[in-house]
Amino acid sequence: MRKAFFLLAVLFSVVISTAVYAQNETTIAPPPDPCAGVTCNSPPATACDGNSVKTYSSSGTCSAGTCTYPSSTAACQYGCSGGVCKNFCDTATCTPTSRICPDGFSSSCQPTCDRTTQACTSCEPSCEGHNAVPQPTVTQPVTNTTTSSGGGGSGGTTTCPTPPAVPACSPDAYLEKKMDDKGCVVEYRCQPSQNQTNCMQIQTFAVDGSGRCSMFPNSCLPPGWTRVERCPELVQQQCPSGCECKYDDNKNIISTSCPTQKGCNYNGICDRDEDSSCKDCIGGECPVRQSCSGGSVSICRKTESGCACDPCPIPTADLPAGCTQETDSTGFVRVNCQKSDVKCATVPQEVRLKCVNNNGLPRFGRDSNGCDTFQCDFGGERSNSPVFATPVKCPSPEEVSSALEKCKSLNMEGVIGFEGGCKIGKCIQQRQEECGMVSGPERVRIENECSAKGMGTMSNFDQSGCQRITCSERTEKQYQCPQDLPKEAYVTCSEKGGQLVVRRDQSGCVSFSECLKRGEESSSFVENIDEVPDAGELLSIAFKLEDLKLQFDKLSKKTDDIANYYQSTGSSDEKRFRRVSDMFMAAKDKVDEIKNKLRDRSRDISVDDIMEIKQDIKYIKDVVLKDILYVMLGSGDDIDEIKNGTTTNCGTDGSCFDRAIRICQPIKFLPEGRNGPSVEVTGLVDGACIMRVTLPESQGPPAGAIPGVNPPYEMTCKLQKYSLGVRNPDTDIIPYCEGNLKELMKYDKSRPEGSRQGVGMCGDTICDSNEQQNPSDCPQDCGPLLGKTPQQITSTQISAQPMQPAQGGNFRDRGEFQDDFGGESQDDFSSGGQLCPDGICDDFEQKNPNACPQDCGNRIAGSGGSGGGFAQPQTVRPQFQQQFQQPQQQRVSGSGASQACSGCLNNGICDQGECSECSDCLGR
């Protein structure tokens, strides 16, 4: 038993230490949940809220360790005291009732107040002992004659006539007598009992038996009316927006029910979702609204931490014409401008011509704003396929150096790019400086510098929207902040095709601004460097990378938390934040990979290693992080499609696919037009981006041609690190795919060489991507390539692979392959390519025949000019069936010149090196 307990103790130690280690490893242990173990079942006692009584629900919700209970209020007709509504009898005074008795006595009684009926009960003054009618002091004659004494008469006696009979009056009446001038009673009348003598001239409210309330000019009330304190307001109280209210007979609100977010919850806190007209949001130290520059206002509300006002909108005068602004639920203000505002950089034709004349490969791309980008590559020729193009052979270091020199003559910037493991020299257009907010550490550094000088700091934004922090002349250390960005900043961002996002803090200062743009993979390159940083610098980089890894991990969890919140509210924003979380996690993995690379090569790290690491760093910075901010804060069609799951059609635009896959945006993509494979990205499932690739049966080998691989040809890929893009399909896509299309492509290297057929088979006339890397391994297929220098190898020659989309290299932008799918024939696909020579006389080359005579020479001669004779499709379309049917041919060049031919490519184009008997060349 001792052993068991010892073992148990060891197990506990291991588990606990593992947990501690796991927490230390990330150092971002989530803060303890202050609501853990808190049960909200002790609501506050019912309390008065002015003249209303507030009642709390028995169960509440916990936030930040504090329980909040839903409450409802009910208006009290007679006020509230001690958490209960007052009774009528607490406030009303029942007026005494009085009457005049027959003998003139005034009798009165005090009515009592009935708390049940909330009314004064009537009482009857008693006239007991006062019912005798008083007789006049004069002697009433028995006859209707009068006797007078003295003075010539018989004495002074007046004789009155016989008085009338005394009527019997009802209890609520008294007897009134009428006498003549001699004091004789001439009449008796019964008059109603009224306390006329007690009436006071004050306005008096009273209700009758039906509850009708009325005001009387004095305190004397008609029978059946009872005095009340006041009549209720007869104007119906306004119900808060979004609420349902119940009213009493006097149109007073007696209860509210606010099911919508805009209702009032009467919890004493002006919550964000409460209407500004709610009681919680009015009064106190928090203003209902605050004034903003430009004359606009923003709504304020009380919060648990004080007062929060909506961010002020950007002054309309500061917005460029045609731009609008919107404020999202998180307080970020976005400025949306028309795409027509975007100013694209133009590419001078002479630059492209120079590129071609220097044996460079002109490459056009298209960015997210639809602007063409241009670069001239030297060496690293790649396949002609619009997707998965692969460099043929890496250029030598001398060739790279030579390429960078050539860039100067092109008046372009020489940079290095690593593609498919090759170091490629390329010339790019001059870049513009990009900037944004000054980072936190940098700001601290500036503040410390200024502080040392006894000065404060002042922040401003320049016309490009870049933040500048300088020391302020003021002696006090006060951080002066800008309230707005200059108008030019919006214009500049708009012209770049960006979306400027601004966030202000509680003091109205701009706390965040960014010109949101999609990351562009084509911008992932590095400048040439001459030496390796010293060991100390490399060590500091290693530390920074470790810190970055932790940062990305923390951000991934935080954004996942946000996604969980949105999921709980049913908001479609969950999808965008789930992606952002994935992107942070992918960035973390990439940083880890860089760190390991640095560690593994630390002893003999080369300049090329440093440049490769540098490119990875730039990729994270310029592509991944830009995408993250765009997905998180941006708006537009891309974001809507993510949120709504709708699918966009990229047509044949490879750059569209590139951008979409990095954020797992649902798209359809036809890399080779209508008659090629179809790629569809469907969305996220369990953290993986799902991509389906199908190949029409007519484009693949006939059933039975490859044992065990039969139509339909398709594969499904579950891409875990989709946000890093497709930089190398061999490692980024293919390993995550399943389906017979993968089999068809022969990426299944586990199969022995002899058992593979079709594409991956040596001797199949196809120099596929694997064989290209080591052409000598399969001279049967790659023989023609072996005898040529890389510069002599045409891209088309090496792209003759039955299933282009899945073979090597990056997805390449093919702006000229854009397809609106409006037509029926293949001619709707504009022919094109962007390489020279690529066997395709594209649009540019048609207009500038000298740019690429290799592609357009024959056509120009034959057609007599540009534009003619190009109706037939020239899109690269692999034809499996033809591939299997065409034998090796004798050596005849595609252009008719007698030279060695390497077989049939069957791509619709009579390429250089293709045999004249091939179907591609027969019709020319």
Partner: protein, 64 residues
């Protein structure tokens, strides 16, 4: 080691697995105010991370 000890260990392990599953909190964010604060913080952090990457880029050399 007797059977009781093995059973006890199994129970403890199962309990720990269960508890670790229970502690997977759904979301620490409870309302839109906290979402707003979190998004702002993440955005600022991204800019700081970008700055760190730029620093590394400079140290690696070649930056204009």
């Amino acid at each position: 080691m007797n059977k009781k000890a093995i059973v006890l260990i199994m129970v403890v392990l199962a309990s720990m697995i269960f508890i670790s599953g229970c502690t997977q909190s759904q979301s620490n964010i409870k309302n839109s105010e906290e979402v707003s604060r979190a998004v702002t913080n993440v955005s600022t952090d991204v800019q700081d991370v970008t700055s760190t990457l730029s620093d590394i880029d400079k140290v690696l050399g070649g930056t204009k």
